[in-house]
Point group: C2
Chain length 187, copies 2
C-alpha cells in the first residue's frame, strides 16, 4: 500500500529510496470500516488523509439537519476538513467512509516536519494545493454557469467510476438537487 | 508600492532586505486604466498578478454570452486565470479593471525561478494556495447551503468595502441572481 503513495508523489517529484523512507516515517496507516467517521463535526481534525483504497464523503450539515456533500475522495485523493486542519480549529464538516477504506494519515506537525526535512515535498504540496484550488474554482464556475442536468453530466464525464460507487441520494446531495430531480436526470 | 508586497509576504515569512530585493527582480510593475483587460478569453495568460491598488473582476462568459463573476480582487490579492496560467493554455476567463489598477506581474518562469532561488517563497506560495483552496471550499459550501439572500449577507459581512466599490449588477453576477432579485435583497 505504501507503494501507492510513492507512485502518487513521483507523478510530481522524483524520490530516492532513502527519501521515500523518510517521507513514510511521517505517516500513520489506518483502516476504517464502511460508515465509520474519520472526522466528526465539532471535534479536532488531527490528520490530512491520503486515500490508499476505498471511498470517503466530506459533508456539511446545515441548521435544518440537511446534509450537503462538499466532496468525495477515492484512491489517490487527499481529503480533510482543511480549514479546521490548518487552523487547528473544530471541524465544521464530517468525513465518513462510504466503503471500507485504508488511509495514510499526516498530522499538521508531521506535515511541517516533512516540508522542513525534505524541501521538495513542499513543492509537491504546493502543486497539490494549486490543483486543489483550480478544481474548486472550476466547480464554482460550473455552479454559476450550469443547471443540475449539466452538472450531473460533467460529473459523469469526469468521474465515471464514482457514479457507479456512490448511492444516487448522495450524488443528489453533491449536485444540490433532490433525489427525485436526479432520477429524472439520470438514465 | 513595492513595500506593500513586502508587508504582504512578511505576514507569512520574514525576509531580509537582500531577500526582498531578490524577490522583486522577478516582478514587473504595470498600471491599467478602468475597463482595461489584463486577461482576455482565448489568449495566453502570461502572469499571476499581485494587486497593489485598484479592483479587478475575474469573469467567465457562457455560451449564451451571459457573464458570471468568479471572483473580485482588491489590494493585497493575487489573481489570474490560474488554470490557464499553470497549464499554459488559453484563458477561459477574462480579468478586467473595475478601477484604475496597479499590479505586480509574475510570469510562470519567474515564479519557478523565485521558488528555486529562495526556498521560503515556496512556503509562502504554499500558504497562499492552501488558503485560496480553503476560500473556494467555503464558497462551495455557501452555494450548497445558502440562498441568495444569505450569500449576499455573507459577502457584505466578509467584504464590506467591496459592496461600496462594485456596481450592483456585478454583485448580482457574482451571487448568481438577477439584478432585480438583488435589489429586493439589499437595503
Amino acid at each position: 500500500m505504501h507503494e501507492k503513495l510513492r507512485v502518487h508523489i513521483e507523478k510530481i517529484i522524483p524520490l530516492s529510496d532513502e527519501e521515500f523512507a523518510f517521507v513514510l516515517t511521517h505517516f500513520i496507516s489506518k483502516k476504517f470500516k464502511k460508515h465509520q467517521f474519520l472526522i466528526q463535526e465539532g471535534e479536532a481534525v488531527k490528520y490530512h488523509y491520503f486515500v490508499v483504497s476505498g471511498l470517503l464523503k466530506l459533508a456539511y450539515t446545515d441548521d435544518t439537519e440537511k446534509q450537503h456533500i462538499v466532496s468525495f475522495a477515492m484512491e489517490d485523493w487527499w481529503e480533510s476538513d482543511f480549514y479546521a486542519f490548518y487552523t487547528q480549529t473544530e471541524a465544521t464538516m464530517s468525513l465518513e467512509c462510504l466503503e471500507d477504506t485504508q488511509v495514510l494519515c499526516l498530522s499538521l506537525e508531521d506535515y511541517k516536519k516533512l516540508c522542513d526535512g525534505l524541501q521538495k515535498m513542499e513543492r509537491f504540496f504546493l502543486e497539490k494545493a494549486n490543483f486543489g484550488f483550480l478544481g474548486s474554482q472550476r466547480r464554482i464556475i460550473s455552479w454559476l454557469t450550469s443547471n443540475a442536468k449539466e452538472r450531473y453530466e460533467q460529473l459523469l464525464k469526469q468521474y465515471p467510476s464514482l457514479i457507479q460507487r456512490v448511492p444516487k441520494s448522495l450524488i443528489a446531495a453533491y449536485l444540490g438537487v433532490s433525489r427525485e430531480a436526479l432520477s429524472r436526470l439520470s438514465p
